[in-house]
Symmetry: C2
Subunit: 176 residues, 2 copies
């Protein structure tokens, strides 16, 4: 076994502007100065945080027999029933090509119904079944606030910042 790198430190973010310590590993020899490392990318922070959320939710969702996007769809439908696919897609930031398989799966599991709108047969309206609503209740207990290690006000502020970030990105992307 090689001695030099069997337990490499996980990525240490080095934010240059307000260099906060977070020094827990040993610094590795850096190839160059002045270039951005992985830890400097906000997009990577979000990306990896999303993976981390997925893993944190996994256990609770397994008990429900759902995946993460499936669960989000249930929550979104519980808020308002009878949404069309594209309305749901707006909420979830997904399009029909992603949403349709998820919805078909959930329908097959008996948690929702998909039916063409008689007034406009192009549209499909989604409504939770009784089982679907029950599922939403059962998932109510899943609360990861503690796992985030954030105080309630930090939690709320961070969420608001991320939402703003997301909306700005979408706007900028649409304009470009």
């Amino acid at each position: 076994m090689r001695a030099n790198e069997s337990t490499g430190s996980a990525s240490n973010a080095v934010v240059r502007d307000n260099s906060r310590d977070n020094s827990k590993g040993n610094p590795k020899p850096k190839p160059a100065a002045g270039e951005r490392r992985l830890g400097d990318f906000l997009c990577f922070a979000i990306y990896s945080a999303n993976l981390a959320f997925g893993r944190a939710y996994k256990k609770g969702l397994e008990e429900l027999g759902l995946t993460y996007p499936q669960w989000i769809a249930i929550v979104a439908l519980w808020e308002q029933d009878g949404q069309t696919v594209s309305e749901l897609g707006e909420k979830m930031f997904l399009e029909s090509n992603t949403l349709t398989p998820i919805l078909k799966k959930l329908e097959q599991m008996g948690y929702l119904r998909r039916q063409r709108d008689p007034a406009d047969e192009r549209q499909v309206r989604i409504s939770l079944t009784e089982a679907g609503r029950k599922l939403r209740e059962k998932g109510m207990h899943m609360n990861l606030v503690a796992a985030t290690g954030l105080k309630p006000d930090e939690f709320a502020r961070l969420q608001q910042n991320v939402v703003t970030l997301r909306d700005n990105l979408i706007k900028a992307t649409a304009e470009a």
Copy 2:
């Protein structure tokens, strides 16, 4: 005939019992106590922000002929060459089952080499080729800071908060 789809029985009219008829300007109808709406979930904010980042990067990455995870791998390898698959996985928060196909693709594209470590043939060491390093240079210009609509200090603080959140989640998940 419609494409295929069996949207279930036709016997049920679309019932919109909790129809909150999203007319613009209405105050948000209050759900029962303790019930969180989609917008209240930090995990959903992160999830959708990640989607938004993917879309924002898409254009720039297309010019490089890379996907988002492929690009992250290039950046991570540029930081330190000769990493093993699992070391790279620690940085990217991915495991071999996800990483191996990505690395094989990048190898096939000529951006990196994968070779068994002679000292321990179980390990595979990854090193960027010249083309791979050039690619990293070419991608250097991709900068979405402006698109985030955040001031540099806000950007840095948000990133640090997300990193902390991620690490707390991982810790909490590992402990559970």
